[in-house]
């Protein structure tokens, strides 16, 4: 799993690529919680995630809850079909804000 983090104005964008699975989810968790501490709106780009499992989803939930506690917005963008399937099975597609593209996600915060 690789990750990248950048700031787009008042938004922090974290992008993951590869597998966010049990092997890599501890690192994903660390990255996401670190992003939350930046005190900005957080967008998580999953477009290049090949596979995400329940441990990867757990890291998203934890970051979502940490954001909420700090009164910060959290959303997913570009969730591809395999990742969306896992989120739907976990009923988290109804919990997370999900934008189809990064552009939409950025526009929503403008």
């Amino acid at each position: 799993m690789e990750h990248a983090m950048r700031e787009e104005g008042e938004v922090v964008v974290v992008s993951f690529s590869g597998d966010v699975d049990l092997e890599h989810s501890p690192r994903a968790r660390e990255v996401l919680l670190g992003a939350v501490t930046r005190g900005r709106r957080l967008l998580v780009d999953l477009s290049a995630v090949a596979y995400i499992d329940s441990s990867g989803v757990a890291s998203l939930v934890e970051a979502f809850q940490a954001s909420r506690r700090q009164g910060q917005r959290f959303a997913l963008v570009s969730v591809n079909a395999p990742a969306l399937r896992v989120l739907e099975l976990a009923r988290l597609d109804r919990v997370f804000t999900i934008y189809a593209t990064l552009a939409e996600g950025l526009d929503a915060s403008a």
Partner: protein, 138 residues
Amino acid sequence: MPDGLVYRGRFPARAEQLKEIRAAVREAALAAGCGEGCAQDMVIAVDEACQNIIRHGYCGDPDGPIELRIERCGATLVFSLFDWAPKVDPAEVRPRDLDDLRPGGLGTHLMRETMDECEFVEPPPGCGNVLRMVKRIQ
């Protein structure tokens, strides 16, 4: 693809093995004629089951073995996961309430949602647990 064993592999209970396990499941599923969605569901179920063995069965012991067998049985694929960890009490394995939003506890739910059958069966002598999951090929 005729009925019978289509895959058998043994892995140490390490998270870094999951990628290889997922690839084996996907390959077997597609070779059996599964569509992408069906193959993906099978991958999800086996991955989650192996996570449970790694985390809860062997409690992180990286040397515990996991054996995966995949069998074609008519219009279904049968996945059997063998481990030599302490015996699980199936009554203790429950999916959590999804309305209770918290980071963990999704694995069992994902397994039961993606597979047509998911149950512990009597293990052979000397074996700890055998989890059997079945899904119709679609």
